[in-house]
Subunit: 205 residues, 2 copies
């Protein structure tokens, strides 16, 4: 019987480096990346179907009504959501699915799938977060301030996540998340058939 | 404030390769190895204070009475136990302590320290276990058979362990356990102060 895939959810404040770390993970690990749907406007360089599926509000609300989203949330005036079918198919086929979503959505999914792994990615400190958001250069000062305040609000949820990873460097954070996935795959609760596998073919004496 | 060390307990059937893996771990990680006390006779090459502290039954029972053992058990006619003071001191100083003990003792400790990490190390299958025990050449056929039966009995407890590691090669098992320790150190439950650390020195705007 095929072992079901693991669902790994990465959240964390805007500017924590989630996108970069997730891109790195998808390169080095056997992950299927779940692409979110959003009504947010694309940032320069962001591509349809790669970074997000971009929808207008009407189309997004139609998906909500048809129960085609695993979770959805409104954040800074935009909808974000996870198309259900893709995630469920991949997991059933034994693939790990990685999902980059914000706190409300992550906690919704944890209720549906208690065995999913919630990872909260944070920059080393608030100062560094401010620096990263400023350097990105795509948002005005007011948006950056809103994001910093939002980051502080989100930190209140960190204890409801399974793991917290400090993104000092992309390389280290990527390794940390790989270690988490590796460790999780060895949890005895994820290996209920291990006794039978161990007994194998041998005739007991 | 110093973060308290982690207590990592390795159990598994005789012949699983616990000793070799633990020795490798102590080399590569910042672990303090807890040396057990036993009334078992030393095997060729085993050294006092390195592999075990060897006691006679009378001396061992005196330690039991004085509550100087964190746990103890009788197994195949011999006592095995963990001197309490060393483990508690190391953890208080922020060091990870690695402990190689059998199932009964491990479960006793899990009750005392629910935050300890229980790792069950097994060979790929029973056949391989038989082969390893035979190759070791230190035990007669009857003892080997008894150990194989004991291994099967111990496998009943695998679900009460946090992790199960299959020892295909020493190198892989060592890496697996390092990943477990790395992942555990990032658990949000082990990082209750993370919010404060994140806020750091910045003046909130």
């Amino acid at each position: 019987m095929k072992k079901e895939g693991m669902l790994v959810i990465i959240s964390g404040p805007s500017g924590a480096g989630k996108g970069t770390v997730v891109a790195e993970l998808v390169k080095t690990e056997a992950f299927a990346l779940s692409v979110s749907a959003t009504t947010r406007k694309p940032r320069p360089g962001e591509m349809e179907g790669i970074h997000y599926y971009f929808y207008d509000r009407e189309a997004f609300e139609a998906m909500q009504k048809k129960n085609q989203l695993l979770e959805w949330a409104e954040f800074c005036g935009n909808y974000y959501g996870t198309p259900r079918k893709y995630v469920e198919n991949q997991m059933a086929e034994g693939k790990n699915v990685i999902l980059e979503i914000e706190v409300q959505g992550a906690l919704q999914i944890k209720e549906l799938y208690p065995e999913c792994v919630l990872v909260f990615l944070i920059p080393p400190n608030l100062e560094e977060l401010g620096r990263r958001l400023t350097e990105r250069g795509t948002e005005d000062k007011q948006t950056i301030n809103r994001r910093i305040h939002r980051a502080l609000e989100e930190m209140e949820f960190v204890s409801r996540y399974d793991y917290v990873v400090i993104n000092e460097t992309v390389q280290k954070a990527t390794k940390d998340i790989c270690a988490i996935v590796q460790a999780e795959s060895m949890k005895s609760s994820r290996n209920p058939k291990i006794k039978e596998q161990f007994k194998g073919e041998i005739e007991l004496c």
